[in-house]
Symmetry: C2
Subunit: 248 residues, 2 copies
Amino acid sequence: MPSSQVIVLYDFPSTFPGKACSPNVWKTRLCLNYKGLPHRTIWVEYPDIAKVCKEIGAEPTGTYPDGSPYYSVPTIYDPSTKSVVSESARIARYLDKTYPDTPVLIPPETDAFHAAFNEVFESLALPMLPLMLPSTSEVLHPESRAYFRKSREAWFGKKLEEISPVGQAREEQWKKLAEGYTKVAMWLQMDRRDKLFFEGDNICYADITIASFLGFLRRSSGADSAEWAAVKEWDGGRDSWSGLTSTR
Amino acid sequence: MPSSQVIVLYDFPSTFPGKACSPNVWKTRLCLNYKGLPHRTIWVEYPDIAKVCKEIGAEPTGTYPDGSPYYSVPTIYDPSTKSVVSESARIARYLDKTYPDTPVLIPPETDAFHAAFNEVFESLALPMLPLMLPSTSEVLHPESRAYFRKSREAWFGKKLEEISPVGQAREEQWKKLAEGYTKVAMWLQMDRRDKLFFEGDNICYADITIASFLGFLRRSSGADSAEWAAVKEWDGGRDSWSGLTSTR
């Protein structure tokens, strides 16, 4: 397939191998891979994301406190339908609808449940943010780094170096994050048997969400770090999701 | 069926018509009704719940801050299997497993999702508590009322009369609760069509949960109150759940 006909995925680059960093964009990349849909990435530095999104006609995915529109990646352009879609869950639903012969990400009977899952998982994964922000900044290119620092410092109301807890406070924060994942692991044991994935044996969007954030943890902590070694032991070392994180 | 052979549901009595008050016990009652399983209620005043639960061999459903076990209703005794089960979601799973020929409450493929839903819905419904606590106290029998006051005042750290916001603060609290329900209504519009229920056309445990709390709101606010009239207008007046609340 000529590259002008494959789905375009917009992402920001980092110094990680393979360039990709954002867990939210990883969700879409894993969705495309799981469906076997050919795609290529256009790398956009942080300060240019809003401009590029507007140029291609993407919808804003939120609003700033002052009411102005907020644009973000993942955003995709699909030349086969000439559609631009932003925000990973919306993209997953678009892909299910547009490519009904590929593996389903969000089965209709779990659609409302997926939305509830998104809501709760976001809050469970939140403790990850202060732990990982400084290292995320370090892997960005210089032109994105200044923008990232400014926006995150405004968000947290403190210097980037002060956002990430250290010592005892860092351990507490890791514990909080681990407790969130323990909750998720318990959800998978509600059924008559210990499930590998949310729906049983097949991967769905919820699993991809979890895997994307675990992959982010692994890359940001360092695959050889003591912190990632600890994550791999969480909840009896269940590795169904961390296995997913090595999927490209 | 002789009454000694039907499922026993433990609940605490109130002065509401039909005696039942607790939204958590209503979940189980609606589950039993939806499955068409005959049952009778044994009414236990608040101060006796722990004693009765221990007598019949129920598991505690939590622990107090001091580490001592916490017992609660709903608890059921099923004479056909000689099983005692506590906590509404656990009871729903027990009923699905024990009575496979009755309508399913938690389809296995939504089992982990149901657990995620429970987690998030609990926090969305939480603003209901301070709004409704004083009126809940009023409908209890005197022997339960003192116990209820003592435990709730310890929980909130203030007098029962001070827990429920008034004036502007009360309006804000109602708004917060309405926003939670709006989120749920939006989850049901994620799919290709506006769903009546979580899985589409069939009722599942998530719908029963929502209906049980709406029913509690209706009874506690008063079916003819201005507050309940406002609830009925939420989210374009979707009444799929409030319709459920009239089911016995």
